[in-house]
Amino acid sequence: MTDLRTPLSRARGRGAAGHGAAHWVAERVSAVALVPLTLWMVYAALTISAAGYAGAVAFVSHPVNAVLILLVLIVSGWHMHAGARVVVEDYFHRTLGRSALLVLNLFVTVLVTALAVFSVLKVALGGAL
C-alpha cells in the first residue's frame, strides 16, 4: 500500500491523534480476542436462557465459565470504549462537547464493566447462595 504520510510525520510517529498507533493496535488486538469469546458467549447465553436461577448460578460458578465471562466483560468493555471513542472523535469537533463525551464514554464503560465483573465474581465465589 502507498504510504501517504510525510517524512516528518513518520519520524514523529504520532499520527493524526497525536499519540501514535497504540490505541488503533489495542482496538484490533481486542477484536481478535473477541472473535472466539463472542462465539462462546452465544453458547453461554443459550445455555443460561434455558437454565433458570439455580442453573445460571451453577453455570457461572464453574471456574472455566466464570473466567470466560469475566474475559468477555473486560475485553468487550475495553473494545466498546475504544470504538465509541473513535465515533466521538469523528463526529464531534467542538472541544468542550467532545471532551465531555469522551469522559462520559470512559465513565460509562468502566462503570458498566465494573458492575458486571463484581456481580459475576460475587455469584462465582458463592455470595449468591
Partner: protein, 151 residues
C-alpha cells in the same frame, strides 16, 4: 479558497475566536448526500450502528449480572422482562448486531492486513457478512426457542 461546507454554514472567517483558532474553517470530507449509495458504504455505516447497539447491549448484560447477583427474587423478574415481546425484539436486534459486527469486524481485520481491498472483493465480503449475520441469527433463535424456557 472556499471551505467545503454545506449550505447554511457560516462564512469562512470567524471573528470572535481566540488567536489560536485557525482563521479559515478547515474543509470537511464530502457528506452523505454527495455519494451514490453503494454496498461498502452501507456495510461501513452498519458496522458503527451495530457497534453502538452492542454498547446498549452491554448495559443489558450488566443488568443480567446484577440481577443474578441480587438473588432468586430479582433474577426471574429481569429474565421475564427480557422474554417479553419488546425484550425479545431488542434481543433479536442485538443478536443480529452481534453477528454482523463479528463478521464485518473480521472483514476489517483482513483489510488491515492489506487483503481483499478491491471493489469486487470488498463488495462480495460485504454480502457474505450480511448474509452470515441473518443466517446465524435465525439459527441461534431456532435453537433458543426450540430448547424451551427455564425449568
Amino acid at each position: 479558497m472556499q471551505p467545503a461546507r454545506g449550505a447554511g454554514a457560516s462564512a469562512g472567517v470567524c471573528q470572535d475566536m481566540p488567536m489560536t483558532t485557525p482563521v479559515r474553517e478547515r474543509p470537511l470530507s464530502p457528506h452523505l448526500q454527495v455519494w451514490r449509495w453503494h454496498l461498502t458504504m452501507l456495510t461501513s455505516i452498519l458496522h458503527r450502528a451495530s457497534g453502538l447497539a452492542l454498547y446498549a447491549g452491554a448495559i443489558l448484560v450488566a443488568g443480567w449480572a446484577l440481577a443474578l447477583g441480587a438473588g432468586p427474587d430479582a433474577y426471574p423478574a429481569y429474565m421475564d422482562l427480557l422474554a417479553s415481546p419488546l425484550g425479545r425484539l431488542v434481543l433479536v436486534g442485538l443478536t443480529l448486531s452481534l453477528f454482523y459486527h463479528l463478521a464485518n469486524g473480521i472483514r476489517h481485520l483482513f483489510w488491515d492486513a492489506g487483503l481483499g481491498l478491491s471493489v469486487t472483493a470488498s463488495t462480495q465480503s460485504g454480502i457474505m457478512a450480511m448474509a452470515f449475520s441473518v443466517v446465524a441469527t435465525v439459527i441461534v433463535w431456532a435453537i433458543g426457542l426450540g430448547q424451551g424456557g427455564p425449568q
